[in-house]
């Protein structure tokens, strides 16, 4: 082979290109992640928040037992749509009502009904350009509208999260576990579902007990059977039917199970970010004075 060394170098280079592309460049771009205050305005909080100690131990249990082979932690999003919310009807409600009837065919607003029950959503899940035009057109008639961003997609409809997962969601973890297969549901926001702790533990002990016919394997080795002492343990699982241990015994979670529970409860990535924006509904208005809360006042 006359050009042997040259061909060898070329092959070496061809393979090295992918190394530069997928090892070096991502490390330069996102390899030194830090917690940042790049949550959308108004939140002003650090994201992501580090997990508490027990949840960190739980992440190790999750990793060691290969939970990631069946549960992904990456919410998908197809699109971002917009809700148009009318916040102020202005003074000339008659004019606004007729304008809105014109812009939104099929509606039948009249003066008083436009101004009632504000803020109210007048257009849901619209493409962003259509929503922007509507909000702009309402302005001359005195109507003020807000645009609320709504991420959409099957995962979000399933309640697996409010927005897609992004690189930042994994900053706080020692091992990133995005998963590659969904045998069961996505867990990126398991903590946001606020399930009962006992539900989670019984589900780990025997998934079919709380989700009938679930194909998830049981994790009985995370629990132990104990003889009840003077008093029943406060941690004992509320088991019924076949699962109930013999009289005088109880099933209590080991440290691993408690840690795993803490980890599952800590899974929450619903915070709006610049790269994955969404509009969070404002907290319900109360009549309590602001000073009565612990929130810092400006």
């Amino acid at each position: 082979m006359r050009h042997g060394p040259l061909v060898f170098l070329a092959a070496f280079f061809a393979l090295a290109v992918s190394w530069f592309g997928f090892v070096l460049t991502p490390q330069v771009q996102i390899g030194r992640p830090v917690q940042e205050t790049n949550t959308v305005p108004g939140m002003k909080s650090l994201y992501p928040v580090g997990r508490p100690g027990l949840a960190r131990q739980g992440a190790e249990v999750y990793r060691a037992n290969g939970c990631a082979y069946c549960h992904s932690q990456q919410v998908q999003q197809n699109n971002t749509l917009v809700n148009v919310v009318l916040t102020d009807a202005g003074t000339n409600t008659m004019a606004l009502a007729s304008l809105m009837n014109e812009l939104l065919p099929g509606r039948n607003y009249n003066g008083p009904s436009v101004g009632a029950g504000l803020p109210k959503t007048i257009l849901t899940n619209a493409p962003i350009d259509k929503a922007t035009v509507l909000a702009k057109n309402l302005k001359p008639a005195g109507g003020i509208a807000q645009l609320h961003l709504v991420p959409v997609g099957p995962d979000i409809e399933r309640g697996w999260g409010m927005r897609r997962s992004v690189a930042e969601d994994f900053v706080a973890d020692a091992t990133a576990l995005p998963g590659s297969l969904r045998v069961g549901p996505d867990l990126a926001n398991e903590g946001a579902r606020h399930r009962d702790a006992n539900w989670q533990l019984v589900h780990l002990y025997s998934p079919a007990a709380v989700t009938p016919k679930s194909p998830m394997p049981a994790y009985k080795f995370l629990f132990e059977k104990k003889k009840i002492g003077n008093d029943a343990s406060p941690d004992a699982l509320p088991l019924t039917g076949d699962l109930k241990p013999a009289d005088g015994y109880e099933i209590v979670p080991k440290t691993e199970a408690k840690a795993l529970l803490a980890y599952l409860e800590s899974l929450n990535s619903d915070t709006p970010l610049y790269e994955a924006p969404l509009t969070v509904a404002p907290p319900p208005k109360t009549n309590a004075p602001a000073a009565a809360t612990n929130a810092p006042t400006k």
Binding site: G66, Q74, A176, P215, M216, F221
Partner: protein
């Protein structure tokens, strides 16, 4: 070395029998241990699939939970069988094509020992809960060190064998094997160093590196070695060179340039350019698959009619077909519209199985059935079992891959159907997985046949060579004692 002058003069006429004999020690070591790992991989894969029949099966034992059994099965298949047996066949092909003896066969065997030791402690580590959490890289640090050293030792002397070749011109199979030999330590070191050292990279960058590694291992490494072996045997059996050397070179460059970018799923929570680039690379591997198909079709002409082939030919023909289908399905699954359905479903697992078992393992098993009798000069103890193994393996692969691919597509549509409850989607998919249990069982029986045959052959070899040698040695000593 005093004998160097005599060997160099005699080496001009090394016989094929001499070359084969020089491969014997490392090949025995590599093939027998890889057959053991292959059986272990099937046992663990069977255990994992049984979990879908009964979620409470062995639920009291932490070491036998699905999330530990499953990675042991994949690691035993990839590292125990795939890489190890692939290196063995590569060694034999390189020695044969170069018309030279193997350099330092004993050191290659030592390298294989290190590799097996590393894998053994790694697998025990996974069962004990030391899984690193990165797919295809689950083996903990203490196992990786031995695997890496073992690989280096084997690869260095395989390269030395290549360097000593008498036939200087390198053919297509040698390009493929040479590139693979160099590429593995690079990707393996990079991935393990960056993920498992004391200061690993952080955040999702870990996953990007793991995906890059998986793509390079599953497509580039197994693709290069498997095709190198296929090209060699086709040329040997058809007794003619490949239809087009240029087309083979084209295949080679498309693997290096395109397949090395595959692996990052399009849904990955990373900056969008990364999955986009990966998708482009993966889709372009279609030309790799097509170029291989054309080249082999044209080389074989009408000679590839499968029915008359002996068992090794059947295995390799199946491997070639599986290669083309697996790479086409893999590219198809990464096309954006299709990917939104197939991503994160069993589809990917099915394609992976087709690539690793259907293509690579079948090819290498065929090569083992062909090589071992030549190298030892002994026929297989059970002559019918290679053919039976072929039918079992082909049946097994189809029964594993078809349910996974179809089930994956169904699962993808089900996840998009928001009205269907999570548990119903999971149960529906699990029904497809239950079918694969039959396939896993067929593979296990077939793999046991391979192991049994190898053990039987070793016993024959032992009886034929060691027993007479031992008796001869003992017989020589006895008269010496009697004499005075």
């Amino acid at each position: 070395m005093t004998a160097s002058s005599t060997t160099s003069s005699a080496s001009d006429s090394i016989s094929i029998a001499e070359i084969d004999a020089s491969c014997r020690v490392p090949l025995f070591q590599l093939f027998v241990s890889s057959a053991v790992w292959l059986v272990l991989a099937s046992v663990f894969a069977l255990l994992a699939s049984l979990k879908f029949h009964s979620p409470t099966f062995l639920d009291n034992c932490a070491a036998l939970t699905y999330g530990r059994v499953h990675p042991v099965a994949t690691n035993a298949l990839i590292y125990g069988f795939g890489v190890q047996a692939g290196l063995g066949v590569a060694l034999w092909v390189i020695a044969r094509l170069g018309m030279t003896r193997v350099a330092q066969p004993w050191l290659i065997a030592v390298g294989a020992k290190l590799w097996n030791f590393g894998l053994l402690i790694g697998v025990i580590g996974i069962l004990a809960g030391d899984n690193t959490g990165f797919e295809n890289l689950e083996i903990p640090r203490y196992g990786v060190v031995f695997l890496f050293l073992g690989y280096l030792l084997m690869a260095i002397f395989i390269l030395a064998t290549l360097n000593y070749r008498k036939e200087r011109l390198l053919g297509p199979s040698q390009w493929f094997l040479l590139a693979a030999l160099f590429w593995f330590p690079w990707i393996y070191f990079t991935a393990n160093y960056l993920l498992l050292s004391h200061t690993p990279v952080r955040g999702i960058t870990q996953s990007i590196i793991a995906w890059w590694y998986s793509g390079n291992l599953n497509l580039v490494w197994f693709g290069l070695v498997g095709l190198g072996i296929i090209f060699h045997f086709i040329q040997q059996w058809m007794n003619r060179p490949l239809y087009s050397r240029h087309l083979a070179a084209f295949t080679f460059w498309t693997i290096l340039l395109f397949a090395s970018w595959s692996g990052v799923p399009s849904s990955a929570p990373v900056p969008a350019w990364i999955p986009s680039l990966s998708t482009v690379g993966t889709v372009l591997t279609v030309i790799t698959a097509l170029s291989v198909m054309i080249n082999i079709r044209k080389t074989c002409g009408h000679g590839c009619s499968q029915t008359e082939n002996p068992a090794p030919g059947k295995f390799i023909a199946f491997g070639t077909m599986a290669f083309v289908i697996a790479w086409l399905l893999n590219a198809l699954g990464s096309v954006p519209g299709v990917n939104s359905v197939t991503n994160l479903t069993w589809y990917g697992v099915g394609v992976w199985q087709l690539n690793i078992f259907g293509f690579f393992a079948m090819t290498v098993i065929g090569a083992i059935y062909q090589i071992v009798p030549q190298v030892t000069g002994i026929e297989w103890p059970c002559l019918k079992s290679p053919k039976r193994h072929y039918w079992l393996a082909a049946f097994g692969v189809i029964l594993i891959v078809a349910p996974l691919v179809i089930g994956g597509i169904v699962e993808g549509f089900n996840w998009r159907n928001v009205k269907m409850a999570d548990v119903d989607v999971a149960r529906n998919a699990a029904n497809f997985i239950k079918v694969t249990t039959i396939g896993e069982l067929a593979l296990l029986v077939g793999n046991l046949m391979l192991l049994g045959n190898l053990i039987g052959l070793s016993v024959r070899y032992y009886k034929l060579h060691f027993v007479p040698a031992y008796k001869g040695a003992v017989a020589e000593i006895k008269p010496a004692e009697v004499k005075p």
